[in-house]
Amino acid sequence: MTKWLHILYMLGAILSLSACKDVFNNLYDDEHQEVVLKEGQLYIDASSWTDWHYINFNTTTDNVVKVGIPVEPLISEDTESSENSDNSESSDNSEDTHPSGIYTYWYDVFGEGLDNHKFHSFTPTAPQPDPENWHIAVHRNNVRTNGGEVLETSYWMMEQLPESSEAFKDSTFTADVWNELDVWVVKEQMLQGYIGNQGIKVNPVLSSWLKVEIPPMPPLFTRNSHIFIVHFPDDTYAALQLENYMNNKGIKCCLTINYKYPY
């Protein structure tokens, strides 16, 4: 009996050899399959460094508008680099007092990380051209609102949310704030630690749905699966959740968003 078992084993080994090329094929999924969206989901390939994607929750189709970020200088000369100036913590939150343009910073990407940075230069560009009607705009891991304010809840399933936004009326919401450190748009000198950032207002709370950390290198992406409530100037509310930040090919910042609007 044992002898026959051994012979069977040998035959099994020989048969397995006949696979010759690929014995694991059935273990994997087809990356060419399209992302299948459920009711109340949006998919946006926001991986481009130079595009903002504007979302209007009122339109059910074609609701994402891609707008290129102006990176070409308005004036041909860059301002002088300044070793000591760091404008990133300006208390003035107004876009009017901050000229539009590319704020290039040096980041200690191979050392202490993003927290250690230094202003390098400024290149004035045209302001960001916004479309007429939009609610939020996404660029990689950055999110803006159209005059809205955002609250992070402790909910992580849409079905768990209270029936209406009334439940959050007394909560403290956070408006968009000026930022010239996080909206990375120019990567040509990245290996030297220099990254060009678009100076623009973004919402720090909603942007926290996808955190990018350096160190480590390559950067660590962490998804925050909490649901965020956005209060818009027209007194409407939206509930938003980042469901996924990668596509089937593993490209990061391809966002699948769960949304409920109006909420």
Binding site: M10, L17, K21, K187, E188, Q189, P216, M246, N248
Partner: protein, 653 residues
């Protein structure tokens, strides 16, 4: 003597059991096969071979092959490459030019340029044979810097079951080895699991180059089974199957998954007292994929499968000469999402012959030559090797030789097109030539009483080294950098090493080994500095080990071991500005360091063994965790518990 060797080869009985006492101290009567592809006693092989035995592995208390090689062999350094893939530098040659074999078979796949070292677990290793210097005349491509052959265990007892559990602050490991043996069949099953936690490292400010701040955790499973059928005392058939899975969490929601399936069938046939035939078929597939936890989907980026058929015939002449002839066929298939068209394949044919001429009892000369043909690029390569051994006295051996090595451009190096995070596009080059090395070596080993000393020196002239060149823009106005694979200008690697070993009757033994390596940093064909992708070899390195072993009573024994290594500082060149190479290169200095480990092995009866080890005794913590720094956080305590189940039953009897 040759019948003794043949007996060992066919029965699989471990050579140590037969070693004569006076030579067993330094394993000189152990059989090695890698240098000539025929079994030879270590003391008689004309090709200088370094042997690491299972006993050495146990003494070093190595957790994996990386630990083992660094602790046992001076001139070995593993460092990180991109994405914390491990890269080997062994006496000035990178992992691409050191051929790793398991029971004589190549491994499919690569991590970045090296084999996946996590596949090489130590649980079922009987011995490791290391042959430095070009060996392409017997092994073909990738053997320019040497061959490292891991020989697995074959059970000799009716049954054994060994279990090992290892615990360290960031590492747990469990290994099971089960052997059964009948009249004609024997089987060896090995299951192992290794887990490492992620951890963060604190670097000081202003590092000179890239540092590591987070070491990625991983989890690895390996299952191997080998069945040996010996229908007659002249025929042995070996079937084997293996599965390996390695998960590395570089991205929390999308861990990388490495899989390998290997199988093989081998027949060793003793045709007559003089003639032996070795036929083998091997299949090995290595995959890289990502598992997306959010969607529970797995997508494959890379797959390399290799089918190899081999035949080796050897004839032993009456005077002691041996003729060996053989041929291989390899079908190499590559799927890589970064290849144009995603897949490519090639056929590799080769034939080789070797004549081992025992001129007289003092002189032995071995000549080998090999012809390889690669269908992709229609590359052909002829490689010779000539080695000699002179034994003026019984305890003194002098060896010298010349060998040619080569490395054919891989399918990746020919056809790659990879956007590296937007930094640059790594570009394959279909016009690459094979990298060729000419190796000249000389060595001597001398044994007297309790002492053995080995010294060797080598010089390598390397032509057309394959690597990535200078980053460049395709057009002047372009903002996209490209990094092409190129052939570099000639350069040299030379060095030498000395090993002194001693063993006394009172249970003490010691080994001290020093290596000097000079790896000249090559330039491109126009004489330009290149950004050396990997950190070159350190000039000076030293490994040391001392043991004391005593069996106090029938039920209690103790072994104390201390081992350590020292590596000198090394310099490498990096561009001041990758986007403007006219600004030249910076010299980055990587500091020297030394690490020491103390282990105490307690044997309780014959079945239980408890190892307690204190690693990094001097509490060394790098100021900067550069890619070639030890990723240690300081002093660490670890323990291993080992149980031989079959001995429990014997004890009861």
């Amino acid at each position: 003597m040759k019948y003794y060797i043949l007996y060992i080869l066919l029965t699989g009985v471990t050579p140590m059991c037969h070693a004569q006492e006076n030579d067993s101290t330094f394993y000189l009567n152990d059989v090695v096969v890698t240098g000539t592809r025929t079994p030879k006693l270590l003391k008689d092989t004309p090709i200088q071979t370094r042997l690491i035995t299972a006993a050495d592995i146990e003494k070093v208390d190595a957790t994996n092959v990386v630990d083992l090689m660094q602790q046992e062999l001076p001139g070995v350094e593993f460092s990180y490459a991109m994405n914390q893939q491990l890269h080997l530098n062994f006496s000035g040659f990178g992992g691409q030019s050191i051929l790793f074999l398991v029971d004589g078979e190549r491994l499919a796949g690569e991590t970045l340029d090296d084999v996946d070292f996590t596949r090489l677990n130590m649980a079922n290793i009987e011995r490791i044979e290391i042959v430095k210097g070009a060996s392409s005349a017997l092994y073909g491509s990738n053997a320019g810097g040497g061959v490292i052959n891991l020989i697995t265990k074959e059970g000799t007892k009716p049954w054994t079951l060994n279990a090992n559990w290892h615990f360290a602050p960031r590492n747990t490991r469990q290994e099971y080895l089960w052997n059964t043996k009948g009249k004609k069949f024997r089987n060896m099953l090995n299951i192992s699991n290794n887990n490492n936690d992620s951890y963060h490292l604190k670097n000081a400010s202003n590092p000179a180059t890239q540092v590591v701040s987070t070491v990625y955790g991983d989890s690895c499973w390996s299952i191997k089974d080998q069945l040996t059928y010996t229908p007659t005392d002249r025929l042995k058939i070996i079937g084997r199957l293996g599965y390996f899975e390695h998960e590395v969490t570089r991205t929390i929601d999308a861990p990388d998954l490495y899989r390998d399936f290997s199988s093989g069938l081998r027949m060793l046939w003793n045709l007559s007292k003089q003639d032996n035939l070795d036929l083998a078929y091997t299949f090995d597939q290595y995959d890289k994929s990502v598992h997306y936890g959010i969607t529970d989907k797995s997508f494959r980026q890379y797959s390399n499968s290799q089918n190899t058929v081999r035949g080796v015939y050897s004839h032993n002449f009456r005077g002691g000469d041996i003729l060996t002839v053989g041929a291989d066929y390899l079908y190499d298939y590559l799927m890589n999402k970064n290849l144009e068209g995603e897949t490519c394949d090639q056929n590799v044919y080769d034939a080789f012959a070797q004549y081992d001429w025992l001129v007289n009892p003092k002189w032995e000369v071995v000549g080998a030559m090999r012809y390889d043909h690669f269908s992709e690029g229609k590359n052909s390569r002829f490689t010779p090797k000539l080695s000699a051994r002179y034994q003026p006295k019984e305890n003194l051996n002098l060896r010298f030789g010349y060998g040619m090595g080569f490395r054919a451009p891989s399918l990746k190096e020919r056809y790659y097109n990879f956007d590296m995070a937007g930094i640059w596009i790594v570009n394959g080059n279909p016009n690459l030539k094979a990298e060729v090395s000419h190796n000249f070596n000389v060595s001597a080993d001398y044994t007297k009483g309790n002492y053995n000393i080995t010294a060797s020196a080598y010089y390598n002239d390397v032509e057309n080294k394959l690597t990535t060149g200078i980053p460049h823009y395709a057009q002047a106005e372009s903002k996209q950098l490209y990094l092409d694979y190129i052939n570099l200008d000639n350069y040299s690697v030379y060095g030498g090493d000395v090993t002194i070993q001693a063993r006394w009757d009172n249970g003490f033994s010691a080994r001290l080994a020093y290596a000097y390596t000079n790896e000249r940093i090559p330039h491109d064909k126009d004489g330009n500095n290149i950004n050396n992708q990997y950190i070159p070899a350190r000039h000076h390195s030293l490994t040391a080990r001392a043991d004391w072993d005593k069996q106090f009573t029938r039920r209690y024994g103790l072994r104390l071991s201390i081992n350590g290594r020292f590596l000198s500082s090394v310099k490498n060149e990096a561009y001041v500005n990758y986007y403007d190479i006219t600004k030249g290169v910076n010299t980055v200095r990587y500091p020297a360091y030394t690490l020491w480990k103390l282990s105490v092995v307690q044997r309780f009866g014959t079945a239980f063994k408890l190892t307690l080890a204190a690693d990094n005794l001097l509490n060394y913590r790098p100021k900067y965790y550069y890619f070639n720094s030890p990723m240690t956080e300081g002093f660490t305590f670890m323990s291993t518990f080992s149980l031989d189940v079959e001995r429990l039953f014997k004890q009861r009897k």
